[in-house]
């Protein structure tokens, strides 16, 4: 059985200039322990789909799908309270801006322990102990002291580690990472990505990695979905995608990678699209 | 009372950096500048007219202006004429009322409706004069402080802090006590108390504009201090000042009425709304109408202006525009 199955997902936003379709009929499937990468430029709807799974879209969004099942349970028909028992425990998510994603008024320790208080029966002292272990697991030095730190006292990389600690606190079966390294320094990006992959392998979690970086995809993913303008362009396992891209847009993305550059100037997706339209 | 009416924008001068008006100022004079100005106005009206409350406020305000201008035509009686045979006559819809005094008469037998209509003149006049004095003073001080910086800035801002340290109505009250009770002195006192808000806003806006390219280039071309201050920089600081001006307009009317109510503003028999309330106070339990209508007039006027102010702020503040 698949871990997460979504069929024909549509998301529309009510805007002042009429409805805007962010996703028009996309299907997703993730198996336990699998790493799925969703790739696309901004506006391709790649975050919207996962926010829909988490139930985090604003009220202006309308979500419809033929099916949205997690471990065979229908997420669409269950009550909001039922769904909140799954969210944060079995499915968790980390975001692009780690510093802004942590509440500036509470310590890192409080924010980690809060997840444990919500989803486990651990008493207060055990929660603290578990928070220290989690901080260790995500590679934060001096975890005891860091528990008392506020987000503004930590670097972006450390904040993202705290976010990851919160996300894996209840040993989730699926972790969604929405551009987890985009806002970080290049050297930190690699560390965070390695950490995510190590945790994924250790816990056997399903991992959905949302990114626009083909390099990241090549290093991490088992399977790839390429999205453009709210539609799925291509879905393939990672090897065949890089070896033999089927879709014109995928080829455009790949040729925009620096290592694939052939001429004096790096091509962009727009160049390709223009050429395609001329033909 | 002005303490509560500092425009929200004052806390964030940066919010006005993207203000489209500086495009107008930077553009070459001539037809294209005219067209641009019209486009900016059209955009402004687009945002303003989306706010139904603001449009309602504008309509009420225009009606008030019309009432003030046409007072001699509209008022059924002279505002000071005393009908000795009709003291405290009730409004027309109350038993014993007559069409002669639609909103009733006051303890001296004067027609309340006529006094209210003439009172609109005083309130609008107070608003205009107070805001004009406060804006002029505030802009001069704020420009000087922001442009020259250093000791001028420190001194000017300390003085503004001192004025703001006093509760505004108390300071205005004491100033009037020094100058002598009366509408003119009350207006001067209120203007003085409101002025620091404009000085602070102007200073903040000037300081953020000073760093911008267009100011630097104007300076390189050799524009004089005065030209830089008034022609280059000032037009681009106008948005927050307009919003603050609207809010101060309503504060001025409220504070002048409060001073009138305390016997320190306009003196009887002036048909100023606050003064009318003061004269009517002892009759509140006998003749509700002498108290109710002047206050209602103040409330409606102030509310209309504040509604407009909210709409103006939303339309002029690009930070809110985007959300």
């Amino acid at each position: 059985m698949s871990l997460l199955e979504i069929e024909n997902l549509r998301v529309t936003f009510d805007t002042s200039s009429g409805p805007f379709a962010a996703l028009s009929g996309v299907s997703y499937r993730v198996d336990p322990g699998e790493v799925l990468a969703i790739v696309g430029e901004s506006g391709s709807g790649k975050s919207v789909a996962m926010l829909a799974v988490m139930g985090l879209l604003p009220p202006s969004a309308t979500v419809t799908a033929d099916a949205m099942r997690f471990e065979g349970r229908d997420l669409l028909t269950m009550s909001a309270a039922e769904r909140r028992k799954i969210i944060g425990r079995d499915i968790s998510m980390i975001f692009q801006e780690p510093i802004a994603s942590l509440n500036p008024c509470f310590t890192a320790g409080f924010q980690i322990e809060e997840v444990l208080a919500r989803h486990t029966d651990l008493p207060r002292r055990a929660r603290r102990q578990r928070a220290i272990e989690l901080m260790q697991a995500v590679g934060i030095p001096e975890p005891k002291r860091r528990l008392a730190s506020f987000p503004h006292q930590m670097s972006g990389g450390q904040c993202q580690r705290v976010m990851i600690a919160m996300a894996i606190a209840c040993a989730p079966k699926l972790l969604i990472a929405d551009e987890p390294t985009t806002a970080l320094d290049v050297t930190i990006q690699k560390q965070i990505l390695d950490l995510l992959m190590r945790l994924q392998a250790d816990h056997g979690m399903g991992l959905i990695l949302i990114t626009h970086d083909m390099g990241v995809v090549a290093e991490t993913a088992d399977r790839v979905i390429v999205q453009y303008m709210g539609r799925k362009m291509e879905e393939a396992d990672v090897l065949s995608l890089f070896e033999n891209p089927q879709n014109a847009y995928t080829r455009a993305l790949l040729s925009a990678l620096p290592e694939n550059a052939t001429g004096t100037r790096l091509p962009t997706v727009a160049d390709f699209r223009l050429a395609g339209e001329d033909a | 009372m002005s303490d509560r009416l500092e425009a929200d924008s004052s806390t964030n001068p940066e919010a006005h950096l993207e203000e489209p008006t500086h495009l107008v100022a930077a553009a070459p004079p001539g037809a294209s500048a005219m067209r641009m100005r019209a486009a900016v106005l059209a955009e402004f009206w687009h945002y303003f007219s989306q706010n139904r409350g603001a449009v309602a406020g504008l309509v009420v305000f225009l009606l008030l202006v019309l009432t003030a201008l046409m007072a001699p035509v509209l008022a059924p009686h002279s505002p000071t004429q005393q009908f000795r045979d009709a003291l405290l006559a009730p409004p027309v819809w109350v038993e014993g009322g007559s069409w002669k005094f639609i909103l009733g008469s006051d303890p001296l037998g004067r027609d309340i409706l006529s006094r209210l209509i003439y009172g609109a003149r005083f309130s609008l006049f107070i608003g205009v004069v107070v805001v004009a004095i406060a804006v002029t003073g505030g802009i001069l001080i704020g420009l000087a402080a922001g442009y020259f910086g250093g000791a001028v800035d420190v001194f000017a801002m300390r003085v503004m802090d001192i004025i703001l340290a006093f509760p505004s109505l108390l300071l205005a009250l004491v100033l009037v006590a020094v100058l002598g009770p009366g509408l003119g002195n009350a207006m001067i006192a209120i203007a003085l108390v409101l002025q620091p808000h404009f000085a602070r806003l102007t200073r903040a806006a000037v300081m953020s504009e000073l760093r911008r390219e267009y100011v630097v280039s104007a300076r390189v071309v050799g524009a004089s201090h005065l030209r830089l201050m008034f022609v280059t920089i000032l037009p681009n600081c106008l948005a927050p000042l307009i919003v603050q001006g609207t809010l101060s307009f309503s504060t001025a009317i409220l504070d002048a009425a409060a001073l009138g109510f305390l016997g320190m503003g306009a003196q009887p028999p002036t048909p100023e709304w606050g003064t009318m309330l003061a004269e009517a106070r002892e009759f509140i339990l006998r003749a509700w109408w002498v108290v109710t209508f002047p206050g209602l007039a103040i409330l409606v006027t102030v509310l209309a202006i504040n509604l407009m102010g909210d709409g103006l702020r939303d339309a002029l503040d690009p930070k809110l525009k985007r959300s």
């Binding site: 506020f150 | 300390r158 020094v178 409220l254 409060a258």
Partner: protein, 335 residues
């Protein structure tokens, strides 16, 4: 935090000097001779005039007079009332609890209604409740409170006969002042009905004085909540599977309260301006009415001393609010 404190304390010294200068100048710019003003309406013979001139130090250079004035202030000498012959500071301390009690109840009233209303309006943005609440708030914000007070008197005292028109408590009750807060003293006195009487006298003034702060707090809470609800960390809190009540009531509100508390602090100046009007309408024996009466009685030492005391009070409260702001905002507290 320490540096923040020192900087803030450093700023109030020039302001305090400025306040004393204003108050000092106040008596000097009054038209007429200061000694004759102090003497009141009756004239006086030249000999006595000369004596008073020396006694008050008016024969000395102006800067010396100012310095001795400030010296007096620092030693608690705020002048002597012409009409009661009592020291201004004593009168202030006698009357201040009445204003403090009224102000405290007014701000509690404003906070108790304004913050929940603001939160609900923000959470249900654009709903009927939001529109109605914000309409009422703008009306309250535009309210001439001296008229509002009169209207409430007409309705509740005149027509319904529920509340008394003026004063702090019925003449039937006599008990010593312990705290200066009539409600607490009434409870301490143990006299039956005294507390009820004190509360019934307090209700209308509280509503009148609390109206504008209520409107300001409701509007500020709403806009702060709207801003905070769009923040990433609120999304994170929801992603943890927390209940909406915890997301809004803890994660969002804790951040939204930072600007709201500053706003509440800034209401102190508004409250004193409002107390001048409210106390006049309800014959409430506090410092607002005291100032108005002194101005109309031309009791200038009281006006001068009251001005310094009130401005000093507002300054100190604003300082406390600033420090409080630092304490509740971790970004300032740990720098």
């Amino acid at each position: 935090m320490l540096r923040f404190l020192i900087r803030r304390l450093g700023l109030i010294i020039p302001t305090f000097i400025g306040i004393t200068l204003v108050a000092f100048a106040f008596v000097r710019v009054l038209p007429g001779d200061p000694v004759l003003l102090l003497a009141g309406e009756r004239g006086m013979d030249p000999e006595r005039y000369q004596k008073l001139l020396v006694q008050f130090g008016y024969d000395r250079p102006i800067y010396e007079q100012y310095l001795s004035y400030v010296w007096g202030l620092l030693h608690g000498d705020f002048g002597v009332s012409i009409s009661t012959k009592r020291p201004v500071l004593d009168e202030f301390l006698t009357l201040f609890p009445a204003t403090a009690e009224l102000g405290l109840f007014a701000i509690l009233f404003a906070v108790a209604i304004g913050i929940p209303a603001g939160i609900l309006a923000a959470v249900r943005r654009g709903s009927l409740f939001d529109q109605a609440a914000m309409g009422v708030a703008l009306t309250g914000y535009s309210m001439p409170i001296f008229w509002w007070g009169l209207l409430l008197i007409i309705l509740f005292s005149g027509i319904l006969g529920w509340t008394p028109v003026s004063g702090r408590i019925s003449f039937l009750y006599f008990f010593p002042s312990v705290t200066g807060f009539m409600t607490i003293d009434a409870l301490l006195s143990g006299q039956s009905g005294a507390f009820g009487s004190a509360v019934s006298h307090l209700v209308l003034p509280t509503i009148v004085l609390g109206t504008i702060p209520l409107a300001v707090i409701a509007r500020q809470t709403r806009s702060a909540m709207l801003e905070v609800l769009a923040e990433d960390y609120v999304r994170t809190a929801r992603a943890k599977g927390l209940a909406p009540s915890r997301v809004i009531g803890l994660h969002a509100l804790r951040n939204a309260l930072i600007p709201v508390i500053t706003t509440i602090g800034l209401q102190v100046g508004v409250l004193i301006a409002g107390a001048i009007l409210t106390e006049t309408i309800f014959s409430w024996p506090g410092i607002g009415k005291w100032m108005v009466d002194s101005i109309s009685r031309r009791d200038y030492p009281v006006v001068q001393g009251g001005l310094v005391l009130i401005a000093g009070l507002v300054m100190v409260v604003n300082l406390v609010v600033d420090i409080l702001y630092g304490l509740i905002n971790p970004r300032i507290r740990h720098r």
